[in-house]
Amino acid sequence: MRRRSVIGTAAALAAAQLKYGRLIRDAAAAEDLESDVLIVGAGASGAAAAWRLSAQGIGVTCLEQGDWLDYLSIPSLYDDWELVRQRSWNPNPNVRGLVSDYPINDAESPIKPLMYNGVGGSTIMWSCHAPRFHPSDFKTQTLDGVGADWPLSYWDLEPYYDLNDRISGVSGLNGDPANPPRPPRPLRPIPIGKGAERLGRALDGLGWHWWPNDIQVYESAYGDETGDCNHCGPCELACPVRAKASTDITYWPKALDQGTRLITGARVFQIETDASGRATGAAYFDRGGTLRRVRARVVIVAANGIGTPRLLHLSASKKQPNGLANFSGMVGRHLMMHPVAIVTGVFDEDLEGCKGITANSIVSKEFYETDEQRGFKRGYMLQFLRSLGPVLTALGGYGVPIEWGRGHHRRMREVFNHTASAGVVCEDLASPDNRVTLDDTLTDSDGIPAPKVTYTLGENARRMIAHGVERSTEVMKAAGAKEIHQIGLVEQGGFHLLGTARMGADPEQSVLNSWNQAHDVENLFVVDGSAFATAAAVNPTHTLQALALRAADHIVETRREL
């Protein structure tokens, strides 16, 4: 790797003072840290990259704006867990409003972005579904004439899916006819419960596919840092028994043992560059508001599909005035989320719906691949859900109205624990008009401009949702539901933030090459969901971790050229 000197330190400070409108204390340059590789973001992909690089002797520093999770603070340990999830544990950072969060102007998006900021990133709040993309997801333009082909194939990524399975641990079952063969799953499937058993029989009757999804929940412990799943329910509120693969307990302990330096409370506001445009490190505010720097020969951004384009836009310079790595103008564009609809059946039988993980573990891929007769391209996954707790049931969660007044108790007896739901998880075709920019006025607690999300649901997705809602309704009828309720588009559903610094073979139409490396800045990599060329119709975490592991190997292999 070649070394470049950081230029313009004083100028950067002056610019930051001006930008953020306050006096900023600058740590002495002598205090600048140096590292072979700097990673911004300690979530799913940043952790995987840190582990893979440090395992091969590369010095890694990671900057994370949040903190380590205090496991004694996890809501499901306390009686008020359903209240806390509406506030300080809300997945929407605008509602949560913690110091570690930044606000998002989401007024122009019918789907609200969700995330968690801290060590582990959104894996702290994820439901642990870890499916692989399908081979067709990487070639949608070639196969179906929509979206963009990835500059790599499923088969290029397959060894890294396998590697991530081994490190993270996964429960499941091989033999699924909807997916390519894969090695035996390290852990047996988690229990699916009465509701999913009923739905599985209904799907069999309809001649439609279903299978226990690959899921990174540990039916039995997987390594020293983990425990056995106790089927408590709300995985999305973190797991106090350490039975799910959040990266604070999977990759991070290993990466730290290998010498990785992880700095929390570090809010990066600029990737710094030299006169030639190469990345030289990053500037950040520490917890006390002091401006600090890490110098590095390679910079990896892993700040999620909103945080990453925000940071690249913030890192505009004289040489790259439209934002770092943005000569194509594609940074921030092609934002994809997974539009989700929910269909809920209410059953006479007590399905014990509150027992077991809320997001359940069975899925149907019957409508995943393109069938032109359906009136849309690409497809969707049905992910079946259990019931909610009593508070959220009363509040009408999953679209089942609960009356108040004299009929309230009767209605609660009919609904509580008696529901099963189908989430229609739709592939989102990329549009350049769906994008992340910097907001003109909104800022975070450090005065750094906040991101603005502009998103419109496409016609293809609308048709897909309508089709998925109809099919899910058929499933519920076949399963014997006495009532069926539909939510056409879940507003608080933007967990999967993808495509805003996409990979591609054409530097005019993409930000990254096939190794997650910026076309314009050879020592800059983006490894989070921003890199996705298509969204597929499955949960993205496994794929972005596999990409991060692969990119890390490429950095090691090419380090002398970087």
């Binding site: 009686d79 909807a178 047996r188 599985g200 106790n230 004299r406």
Partner: protein, 149 residues
């Protein structure tokens, strides 16, 4: 029935209790949402979101003698308030349900009526039968249908 109370406040707990009782009356072991500890929990939840003004707007639409009226009459009056101001009333409903179903008293009663344990989900969790692979017989008989590319 008297006129509405333009000077209503959340400190008028009898008015609040009467409204909450109209929203969730008692039934068998399940208590009324208007019982004192649940009114207190309701007001705490309201304060958490700084929604006092919303509650006051709803209370001011109720007659001054609302607490003295029959439960059915109070429910009918509350429905009229909901019809005229659904957004505010929904917020009152949310705080009512939050207070009610997070209450250990209510949860004890719920356990007796539904079997749902009156404790947080962790760390005890729940027992569930292991996944039965025999349920996949039909699916295993199906040929692979993913697209090869």
């Amino acid at each position: 029935m008297t006129g509405t109370d333009a000077s209503a406040t959340v400190a008028n707990t009898s008015q609040v209790a009467a409204l909450l009782d109209a929203i969730i009356p008692s039934e068998d072991q399940l208590p009324s949402a208007g019982m004192p500890e649940l009114v207190e929990a309701f007001l705490a939840d309201v304060a958490e979101d700084e929604s006092e003004g919303v509650v006051v707007r709803v209370l001011t639409q109720l007659p001054i003698d609302f607490p003295e009226l029959d439960r059915e009459v109070r429910e009918d009056l509350a429905r009229k308030v909901q019809d005229s101001n659904p957004r505010d009333f929904d917020i009152v409903l949310r705080h009512t349900y939050n207070a009610y179903y997070a209450s250990t008293t209510v949860r004890d009663a719920l356990e007796q009526t539904t079997g749902y344990p009156a404790r947080p989900p962790n760390t005890a969790g729940y027992e569930l039968a292991s996944f039965d692979e025999n349920t996949l017989v039909t699916q295993r008989a199906r040929a692979p249908f993913w697209r090869r590319v």
